[in-house]
Amino acid sequence: MDVQIKKGVLDACVLYALKDGESYGYKIITDLKDVIEVSESTLYPILKRLESSGALETYSKEFNGRLRRYYTLTDTGRKKLAEYRQDFEAIITIYKRIFR
């Protein structure tokens, strides 16, 4: 897949995985399993990128006697997800016209 398209799709998927509230790395990968396969090593740069662009907020919470890092969408993240949704709808329309 084209790198730019892949980047967009992966970002959108990760934002989507957080749309209902906080989550953590392992859960994000598990939740996305049926949609797209994301490895730990792929996820890390995405989370980092989304965090530095202000789409995510992170914090650590104790779980089972250890600390776990949680991620949650910011308003910017929510807006970004809505934009992706519109973009994808536009792409689907184009796709239907071209390839069907």
């Binding site: 892949k6 790395g25 392992y26 730990e40 090593s41 740069p45 995405i46 089972n64 250890r66 776990r68």
Partner: protein, 322 residues
Amino acid sequence: MKYIEWRDELEHFLGGLDESERENIILYYGEMYADKRDSGLSEEDAVAQFGAPYDAAKKILDGEGCPNEGAKRPAPEGNDERALFTSCGAADAIEINGALSRIHVKFSRDRQVRIDYPVNSLLDYRISQQGGKITIKHRNVKFRNVDLKAGLIAEMTIELPADMTPDCDIRLTGGSIKLAGGDYGNIKAYIEGGALSTGKIFCGDAHFATDAGKIDISGAVCHRLYAEINAGVLYAGSICGSCADIKINAGKGGADMIDCKRTNIFVSAGAANIKLAGRSDDYDIKVKKTLSSCSLEERSAGSERSLAAEVYCGALNAAFEG
């Protein structure tokens, strides 16, 4: 592999990053690992899911094709001083038990060196040595390039795992190199002096040249053989594939069984003993000889197989078996 080992290797490959960034990544994987274990996976399975440490590090550094501007990447090939382990001492044995992306070993003393490399990663592998004895043992190592240069009175034994296919480039000025059994890519060896021998190996193209040494590849099966013996001895095993090209300027050469479409033998002085697959009728044979002894008769069989022999002062003894 144990998680701790995996993590240490990963950390090594992330050497180009800031310490805090590296710590973040290690924490991230630690948490992932704990979550995997909590979900019921064994240590081995959890680690296996992470993939090879080198691959994981590469994905993180590349951001899966989405470069992360904030992260420093490791310096390109040949510039990564940090990765250089330098020892100036005169040790009798060095044991490297860690994760290295490249090994360049250079020795100038008459010492014994043993390198035991147990980890699984991608290597750019160069050894040059003058003197002494070097033994290198590999288990589960993926090679990219192997470049071996052994100097005077060196002895080198390379053991490679059976399922790896490195391209080998060997230059030997003295001493001996043994390539232990396994699958190889293309092998190029230039023996100025000393001896090269192989165990049971399978390889693609094999280029061998010797000025004065001995090459014994009787355990080898190669697709194409190019051999040049200026002086010295070449003893080849089975060659099956598209072509065998043997040139003897002086010295001695021989092959157990040549089963090739094209066979070219050139003997200027010296002697060649070869055995060819099939009957002599199966070959188009071209012979050019002067003051020499050559058992071959010229013939045109309209066959797909050809044998060209040029023999000047030496002797060529060719037998057929089929």
